[in-house]
Subunit: 236 residues, 2 copies
């Protein structure tokens, strides 16, 4: 098995996904939110690219979720804070989610054999699910506006660390994957602090979302592994 | 002062270099070779993009150096092995050097206020020289065929580590720089082994250049800091 890392959405080319399992990673916050929503009993999360599309596809009983400039979209039920998706808020409901980076990355990965959503919150379960699918793996860091994001690289490193433990020595990792592995290991003891220091962490803190950063820093809080089935993410 | 990392030559945009000091990093092997050539007394290294250009610009007394597919170019005096440039081979001579990735990166960085060549071999001296120039700094990892290369990222991390020690806390590092810093620190005790395991290290070893990989792994062997002056790299 081979593992490859794509550092941001702008860097991805369609042919890189063919015959692969792709793990889309947008720790702050889209994939953390999708994991939380499904762990909390949402029936599915439909990632959509525009606000208009979300409104058009909305059916009775659905919830509209998402952000622009990090904030909840006017008229939407939920923002992009995973905390919005807890305490029964989404149980049994379908969520239409639109975010700046993560939903775009999920669409871009669409030609993969399998698309999973990875985050710190579901790292072990996600690594195990990816290993079981027996394809080469692309760790697709969504990044921020086509630039590498600290937290996504860190999560890619954690997932590679877990995958290597599961699959053993026969797994080959590309150079960027080895870099992210080293990066994760050197920060393993202080993930929440590291995330708060990152560019996204500081931006979210400034906007009043420090609680989200801390929430998304929790490793293995959930066993839920969102997987794209048709156009909707559901639990594996 | 701000530090930013560009992960490979394909990712670089001209506007990223304006008003900056750029450190071009191609550890295996172009910048290691340039550092070695100048440390060994070459009068200058002129990076050129094509073999034809090298032959056209060649004047009496010049040496032709470079590689294609890692090997010495037919009819050239020297390859891209830093070891070729030792033991008086280049003393007092100008070298016209053409390589696959590194020379292209040097040209691409040309709009910077200052362009330095960085490698493990001259890390401390290069970090000190960059700090003295009092501009924001771009660590420009040349990479291999527009992909991130392990050894260049590791070197960027080492240079950032040294720069932070020199400039102190007021220096801001972008997310990719923080990742490379962690990556370097987690490999700091085993640089030669790590380089031999990297994709470029394995490729060079297979082609009989393991000695180059080991040579290029040495930290702070030289004080020479190549700096672009006009179209030629000379000692600062």
């Amino acid at each position: 098995m081979r593992i490859q890392v794509i550092p941001n959405t702008g860097e991805a080319r369609t042919d890189q996904f063919l015959h692969k399992t792709t793990v889309v990673i947008d720790v702050l916050r889209a994939t953390s939110t999708i994991v939380t929503a499904l762990a909390e009993g949402a029936s599915g999360v439909l990632p959509v690219e525009t606000v208009m599309e979300a409104k058009t596809l909305h059916r009775q009983g659905d919830l509209l979720g998402g952000e622009r400039f990090c904030r909840k979209i006017a008229g939407f039920d939920l923002g992009n804070s995973p905390c919005d998706y807890q305490s029964g808020a989404v149980y049994g409901r379908r969520v239409l989610l639109t975010t700046t980076n993560g939903t775009r990355a999920i669409h871009k990965a669409g030609r993969s054999d399998h698309v999973l959503a990875g985050s710190l919150l579901n790292a072990e379960a996600c690594a195990a699910a990816a290993a079981l699918l027996r394809r080469d793996i692309v760790m697709f860091c969504a990044g921020t506006h086509d630039e590498f994001a600290f937290e996504d690289g860190l999560c890619a490193g954690l997932l590679i660390d877990r995958l290597l433990r599961i699959t053993g020595e026969e797994t080959e990792t590309d150079d960027l994957g080895l870099a992210m592995l080293g990066f994760y290991r050197s920060n393993a003891d202080s993930i929440p602090e590291a995330l708060l220091r990152s560019a996204s962490g500081r931006r979210l803190t400034k906007l009043g979302y420090a609680q989200d950063v801390t929430f998304c820093s929790q490793i293995d809080l959930f066993d839920a592994v969102p997987r794209l089935s048709g156009d909707t993410m559901t639990i594996v």
